[in-house]
């Protein structure tokens, strides 16, 4: 199946010699939510900007909705909606005019019913006649999304969409993104909030110093790279780790009340049974035990610092 976004051997070197992207190869499929993670300056925004036509590529090939972004730029760009990281708006325009402007710019005939629906979906309908300068930061963020959706794109780029918005609005946006996906829109998301990627993404790509170092299904990534942790709260504190346990990946907490056993989530869990048996043999009693999986954030931090 033709991917919605196809990036082949993409390089970007800026005029000052800074190499922002190195041999990027990426396929994003129709109707998926793809999260692109990476530290500041990794190249996320440059990659998005190239696909959207804002930045020139140095070498390589990019297609959007099956159209080359240079040769067939009209069709490629018409299929894309972009919500940029910064809140760039025309302060003196009103909400309705700003959203209608974007629809026209993207070559679509006026459709007041669609604009009305988008504004209502984003709780901006009551503000349609207000000047943008009078909107709160959260409303401006929603306006950026409304503008990006005004021309009914097949592909939506969300560059840090929930940066600086409150928890409630973030949840609303996640819900909206899910609905868009249900309608067949392909969504590419960059975010600093790992929780966001964990909550929404189908696949995750990690970019570091201009290179994609990993692309994986979220579940596969978490099970491949995720760690599980078993914490045993002891009845009596231990002064030191008994010799029988030193061969296992077990740590003793500072106060001596907790044993922490870390294991690979993919590994067979025979280690846990063995640990519990050893504790029984040693007469070490515990009153509580808890397990937790490492979060995507911990996986991400581990990857970018490798």
């Amino acid at each position: 199946m033709q991917p919605d976004i196809l990036v082949k051997n993409l390089y970007k070197v800026y005029e000052d010699g800074h190499q922002a992207l190195k041999n990027i190869n990426l396929e994003i499929h129709k109707g998926e939510i793809f999260a692109l993670l990476g530290p500041n300056g990794a190249g996320k925004t440059t990659l998005i900007s190239i696909i959207c036509g804002i930045v020139n590529l140095t070498e390589g090939k990019v297609e959007a909705a099956g159209h080359d972004i240079i040769r067939d730029y009209r069709k490629a760009r018409a299929s894309i909606g972009l919500v940029p990281q910064e809140l760039h708006t025309d302060s003196f325009e009103n909400v309705w005019a700003a959203v209608s402007f974007t629809r026209g710019l993207f070559g679509k005939a006026p459709n007041p019913a669609h604009i009305e629906k988008v504004l209502k979906d984003l709780s901006l309908w009551d503000k349609r006649n207000n000047r943008i300068m009078s909107l709160s930061g959260g409303m401006k963020r929603r306006l950026m999304i409304a503008k990006a959706l005004s021309h009914e794109p097949d592909i939506l780029f969300l560059d840090e969409p929930t940066a600086g918005v409150d928890v409630e609005l973030r949840r609303d946006m996640w819900e909206m993104v899910r609905q868009l996906r249900e309608n067949g829109v392909t969504i590419i998301l960059t975010t600093h909030y790992i929780e966001e990627a964990e909550e929404m993404a189908d696949r995750i790509g990690v970019i570091r110093q201009g290179e994609i170092i990993l692309v994986e299904n979220k579940e596969t990534l978490m099970s491949k790279l995720g760690k599980k942790e078993l914490r045993l709260h002891l009845q009596q504190p231990l002064e030191s780790l008994p010799g029988e346990l030193t061969l296992e990946p077990v740590e003793l907490s500072e106060d001596g009340y907790e044993l922490i056993y870390t294991f690979d989530s993919q590994q067979e869990q025979a280690g846990v049974a063995r640990l519990l048996r050893t504790l029984g043999d040693l007469g070490i009693e515990y009153r509580d035990l808890r397990t937790r999986e490492s979060s995507l954030e911990e996986i991400f931090v581990g990857l970018v610092h490798e």
């Binding site: 959207c52 009209r74 760009r77 760039h88 025309d90 209608s100 402007f101 629809r103």
Partner: protein, 253 residues
């Protein structure tokens, strides 16, 4: 062709004019009217005719041209500079619009605004000074050609400028002196011979001369030379814009 895109840019720019009527229309009309009052009605009545035309009427084409040039440059430069300054240029760059369509939208709106303003100023002048238009079609042609050419020039300035100061430098430090020294208030025949030759290097001389010919049938240089000079400048501006979009100069990194 993305006509909806062109229309969106054009409409957006025209809306800016309606939002700022005082600044866009009233201010240039009032300031130019002051010239008509002072040089036309007050001082003009005490000055002799130039080439058989009363002084008040003689300066009208030059003053209309002054407003037209300044407004064309400032409308177009501000129109493209503001999205760059505020960051909203990302929308235009990511939209399915060609370079030609972008220029058509911005320059078309700037030209419309300048021509409307030029006509308002012309109508206002009638309140103070009696004048005739001998060749109205040529007058419109000059008005539109000059507005298009200098709107293109303003568009280039707007892309080149990386601060508000640079936006002001060209209209105030270059265009205004050129207009004042380009025969707005006098015929270049009145200058010493050496200054006449130097003045011919001022491109505005050709605009004012041609425009004045459309009014009164008198000119400093032949009408076709004026038309030719405007077309040369128009071609230079179009070439510069073609290069800007081809290279992405100050637009796409």
């Amino acid at each position: 062709m993305n006509l909806y895109g062109v229309r969106a840019i054009y409409k957006f720019e025209m809306n800016r004019m309606w939002r700022t009527l005082m600044q866009s229309v009233a201010s240039p009309v009032i300031s130019t009217s002051l010239y008509f009052v002072v040089f036309g009605s007050a001082i003009g009545s005490r000055m002799g005719d130039i080439e058989g035309i009363s002084y008040g009427a003689f300066i009208i084409p030059g003053l209309v041209m002054l407003s037209l040039l300044m407004q064309s440059i400032s409308n177009a430069s501000f129109g493209i500079y503001m999205p760059k300054f505020s960051g909203t240029i990302y929308e235009v760059l990511s939209a399915p619009v060609s370079y030609f369509e972008v220029v058509l939208g911005y320059v078309g709106a700037a030209t419309t605004k300048s021509v409307i303003l030029g006509l308002i100023i012309l109508a206002t002048a009638r309140l103070f000074v009696d004048y005739t238009v001998l060749h109205p079609l040529w007058m419109f042609l000059f008005l539109i050609l000059t507005a298009v050419t200098f709107s293109l020039f303003g568009f280039i300035i707007g892309i080149w400028a990386d601060g508000f100061e640079k936006l002001q430098v060209v209209p105030l430090m270059i265009v205004t002196p050129l207009v004042f020294l380009g025969g707005t208030f006098y015929s270049i025949d009145m200058l010493p011979e050496v200054w006449q030759t130097i003045t011919l290097f001022n491109p505005v001389v050709y605009l004012i001369s041609g425009f004045r010919w459309a009014f009164y049938g008198v000119s400093d240089v032949h009408i076709m030379v004026s038309v030719g000079m405007i077309l040369v400048f128009l071609s230079l501006c179009m070439g510069a814009i073609w290069w800007i979009f081809k290279t992405g100069y100050r637009l796409r990194s």
